[in-house]
């Protein structure tokens, strides 16, 4: 495999980090937001410029500093990392536009702080995507935890403080209390933390140790919200909606899922997991999360809370797919990072747009809203199709591969879980859409005049909804990256 040494990965991380002083010091909001766009576009361009090399099977590496023997702070761009970085950075542009619309419409306070920490969070996300070893990944994982705290608690009221505490307790508590010791034990056993296809273990370690380490590393990355460490996610929904959209549908939670993928594929390695039959353990934990989260989602009336539980379930799809250890399942899991991101961010954008336009947060108050905000609700419909996994949306492909993966791995129970959960997804999303459009005029809570949210809110959700459809027709890029990631 070809290895290219280039500073580009570092630049991709730094571009949004270095912009923060400019953002913090700019007085005019327009200037500040222009710089956000500049950084976001620059970031996408830098990342995109590495795509051709990655598609050719090359790896781009850059070592920042050799910090402990055998482990460096080091970037390595491979297919899986590229997939994730592309998704998160391109959605940052859209979210920035949406943030402008949302924050200005609601006259939120401390917008400068908001944009600064948003940029920081994106640096950390891309850092996680490009990490070459567990230590670097941990570094950016922690950076993301602390950078998102002020975003989650943006409103600075007692409720935000409560949620912030829960957020920290789960996210930082697990990363210091579980991941750190597990990482150090791995390091002391093997002397390295470098991700590789074969994993870092010799395969001769006692199985009990392996099981404990695996559970520590899979559950410890609590951003993946695998039950029982999920309840920070609904709590974090106190954040402004753009934060929920990008961070709790794309960046933060996907960083968790991505870290778990790295642990499974890079630290333990598929072969070791297959030999020790450890994949099944993870599968069952993930499957439990998928079903339970979907059931809880059914009972939620708050739209954002319903989306939150839906996210918990969908994240476990990703973990489940990879833990199947069959090639198709892994492709499904990896592409689901992208497909779910586009679908779910659309849904969050819609929830925010509804809140901006009407001030409503609960599903029971949204009867007939389709007549007032048709564009938003059509986008919502497309987003839910993608999350459920129906054509013509990108979500169909990842689900399809996941289903094929269960067959390939000969895991009938998992097939049932996937199908059952898809039905549940439909059950908690489609009624919202149905009630929005099809109701009698007595039932309708809104007048028939069309009154959408500001253009800055609506345009982004249209873009992501269209993106979901486009991904159905042109999924090749992400599929190819996923195929490369599992070794061709």
């Amino acid at each position: 495999m070809e290895t290219i040494i280039s500073i580009k990965p570092l630049l991709a991380v730094l571009v949004s980090l270095l912009i923060t002083p400019i953002l913090a010091s700019s007085r005019a909001p327009n200037v500040r937001e222009a710089w956000t766009f500049v950084a976001a576009v620059a970031k996408v361009l830098i990342i995109a410029s590495m795509v051709p090399a990655v598609l050719k099977g090359a790896e781009i590496v850059y070592t920042v500093a050799q910090v402990v023997p055998g482990v460096a702070i080091k970037f390595r761009v491979d297919a899986l990392g590229m997939l994730f970085a592309l998704v998160s950075s391109s959605l940052w542009i859209v979210t920035s536009a949406y943030s402008i619309g949302y924050m200005r419409a609601l006259k939120e306070h401390s917008q400068t702080r908001y944009f600064v920490f948003f940029a920081l969070a994106l640096s950390a996300t891309v850092g996680v995507a490009f990490s070459a070893n567990l230590l670097t990944l941990y570094l950016f994982y922690e950076m993301l935890s602390f950078a998102t705290y002020p975003l989650v608690t943006h409103h600075q009221d007692p409720e935000a403080r409560r949620s912030g505490r829960k957020y920290l307790l789960y996210i930082v508590g697990t990363s210091i209390g579980i991941v750190l010791p597990a990482m150090l034990i791995c390091y002391n056993m093997t002397g390295t933390l470098e991700f590789s296809m074969q994993g870092i273990f010799a395969g001769t370690e006692p199985k009990a140790t392996m099981v404990v380490l695996l559970l520590m590393l899979v559950l410890g990355f609590a951003k993946a919200a695998i039950m029982p460490l999920h309840s920070w996610l609904p709590a974090a929904m106190v954040a402004p909606t753009p934060v929920s959209a990008l961070l709790h549908a794309v960046a933060v939670v996907k960083v968790g899922a991505f870290s778990v993928l790295r642990v499974l594929t890079g630290v333990f390695g598929i072969n070791l997991l297959t030999n020790l039959h450890l994949g099944t353990v993870v599968c069952y934990i993930a499957a439990f999360t998928v079903i339970t989260a979907s059931l809880i989602a059914l009972t939620q009336d708050g739209l954002k809370r319903r989306l939150a539980f839906s996210t918990i379930g969908q994240l476990s799809y990703i973990v489940l797919g990879v833990a199947l250890l069959s090639p198709k399942g892994m492709i499904g899991g990896m592409t689901h990072i992208a497909m779910h991101a586009f679908g779910k961010i659309t849904l969050f954008f819609c929830a925010g747009a509804i809140f901006v336009a009407t001030g409503k947060k609960n599903i029971s108050e949204m009867v007939g809203i389709g007549k007032r905000m048709p564009v938003t609700m059509i986008a919502f419909f497309i987003g839910s199709l993608s999350v459920i996994g129906l054509p013509p949306t990108g979500g169909f492909f990842s689900k399809w591969y996941l289903v094929l993966g269960t067959l390939q791995a000969d895991q009938m129970p998992m097939l049932l879980v996937l199908l059952g959960s898809s039905l549940l997804n439909a059950a908690y999303f489609l009624p919202v859409v149905y009630k929005a459009f099809f109701c009698t005029s007595e039932e309708s809570m809104f007048q028939n005049t069309i009154q959408e949210a500001p253009i800055w809110c609506v345009a982004p959700l249209v873009v992501t909804a269209v993106g979901s459809i486009v991904l159905f027709f042109y999924p090749t890029l992400f599929l190819n990256l996923a195929k490369l990631a599992i070794g061709g």
């Binding site: 500093a65 050799q66 702070i73 600075q156 007692p158 010791p181």
Partner: protein, 498 residues
């Protein structure tokens, strides 16, 4: 010139003390520049010395040309080369930051303050640079006596706390002196290297063991190792800002250095870890120290006092790491001397800025500080994150070595203690951040667009710049951990220790 570095390190601050005390009578405004200049020379010399050590290896400097063991010799190797650089840089940065807060807190005592300040730095640097066990005692007392003065200057409960510190400090130093006396009886020498050469035949002697234990207890009292810590929190809390941000980062760390010097040089690791089978209990003691430090910190409602209890926990880190009895743990302990000195300086400087502006460090005083003092709080966050142990700040990497050492020694209790303390630090610091961030709550919950933020009211530039420099150093040291360990600490630990 560079040949005289070891002497310059001590002599320049010592003589400047004289000059400053005279300048204090003539014109108070001269005190500060002289202090900074003297400390800058010391810092320059010690950094230069460190690089010379890296090039040439151990440097022996005979004071007055007298040969050891008769004369006093300064030995500079990789271990104290590193500590010297850290001590002198911390002292310099803090001196720069102290200008405004001294002018505010006691403008009439500028002369005495800076005299004591440079004398204390002289003592600390001397402790680190000397190769003579008795000379070390004298310098120990110089550092301690000036320290009492610096603490008592604050008024309020300062004098009483300083007096309590004085009782304990004197007992500690006397114990050390007693231990040195036993060593002298057995070996007839006071030169560290000389003693180390004579001792191996006497390792089984009861008197040597007694000497070791007595010395250890002495330095433990001086470094506030739990349960000998009772003097520390009050003394550091009631000291004026500029004193506490000198004493808190340096005194305990220099004492840790003395302990490691005793373990590694005077008595060899062979004696300390194998012949004296006391490592395990001492590590357990440090586990208790870490737990108690963390728990006691939780109950404090004063930012400064909370930090002092964290120092007690950090002392536990280093004592435990040094006594794990393996190379990795020792590396962690030595690395943590440097890192902890820097991060303690960072948080205490930040507290100094806060006290300068809001006149207090009680939790109620901290409301709305993120708006009021964003720069100070930004640096404080970096210090806090380093104390919690988050990469890429340096606190993470010393913790990494300490935990690795614990795993290699099979001492999981120590590992749990370190993790517990990290988690408690998260709680401690975020409790502070919460107050600074949320409170006072605005009347309208939810969308607080109608809140009226207090205007920004930052500390003066002379206080901010050193703070920023330290914060940057925390990250840089973290990123260069690999180099520091490979080029400095690796040579500071004898080959015998694996």
């Amino acid at each position: 010139m560079s040949l005289q570095y070891p002497a310059l390190i001590v002599v320049v601050p010592l003589l400047s003390a004289l000059v400053i005390s005279i300048a204090g009578w003539v014109n108070k405004r001269w005190c500060f520049p002289i202090t900074v200049a003297a400390l800058a020379v010391a810092a320059y010399s010690s950094v230069g010395l460190l690089f010379r050590v890296l090039d040439e290896g151990v440097i022996v400097y005979k004071l007055g040309g007298w040969d050891p063991p008769m004369g006093i010799a300064y030995y500079v190797d990789h271990l104290n080369g590193l500590v010297l650089a850290v001590v002198s840089i911390v002292a310099l940065l803090n001196a720069i930051a102290s200008k405004k807060s001294i002018e505010q807190e006691f403008p009439e005592k500028i002369g005495p303050f800076y005299t004591l300040y440079v004398l204390m730095v002289t003592g600390l640097l001397g402790i680190v640079v000397t190769g003579d066990a008795f000379n070390l005692y004298v310098l120990l007392e110089i550092a301690a006596l000036t320290g009492y003065g610096l603490i008592a200057m604050g008024g309020g409960r300062g004098p009483l706390s300083a007096l309590n510190y004085l009782y304990m400090g004197t007992i500690g130093a006397c114990f050390y002196l007693l231990g040195v006396g036993y060593l002298y009886i057995m070996t007839g020498s006071l030169n560290m290297v000389d003693i180390a050469g004579i001792l191996p035949d006497l390792y089984q002697s009861k008197a040597v063991m007694a000497a070791f234990i007595i010395c250890m207890v002495g330095v433990w009292i001086k470094m506030a190792f739990f349960p000998l810590h009772a003097w520390l929190p009050n003394a550091y809390t009631h000291a004026p800002s500029a004193s506490s941000s000198l004493i808190a980062p340096l005194v305990t760390k220099v004492m840790i250095y003395v302990m490691i010097r005793l373990i590694l040089t005077i008595f060899t690791p062979e004696f300390s870890f194998n012949i004296l089978a006391v490592s395990k209990p001492i590590v357990w003691l440090s586990v208790i120290a870490i737990f108690m430090g963390a728990i006691l910190a939780l109950k404090e409602r004063n930012l400064k006092k909370m930090l002092t209890y964290i120092i007690i926990a950090e002392v536990g880190y280093m004592v435990g790491g040094a006594w794990l009895g393996n190379r990795v743990g020792m590396t962690g302990a030595i690395l943590h001397i440097a890192n902890d000195a820097l991060m303690t300086l960072c948080v205490f400087l930040a507290v100094g800025n806060i006290v300068y502006k809001v006149k207090g460090a009680e939790f109620e005083d901290l409301q709305g500080l993120f708006r009021k003092m964003p720069f100070t709080m930004g640096a404080f966050i970096i210090g806090a994150i380093s104390m919690i142990g988050v990469p890429p700040t340096c606190g993470f990497f010393s913790k990494w070595y300490l935990i690795s050492g614990a795993i290699q020694a099979g001492h999981y209790g120590f590992m749990v203690a370190l993790l517990f303390s990290s988690l408690v630090n998260v709680v401690l610091f975020f409790r502070v951040f919460e107050i600074c961030f949320y409170e006072p709550f605005s009347d309208h919950h939810g969308h607080g667009h109608d809140r009226h933020p207090e205007p920004m009211d930052e500390a003066p530039v002379t206080m901010l710049v050193p703070l920023f420099i330290v914060a940057a150093i925390l990250v840089l040291v973290g990123l260069y951990t690999g180099d520091i360990v490979n080029h400095i600490i690796e040579f500071a630990i004898p080959k015998g220790l694996v």
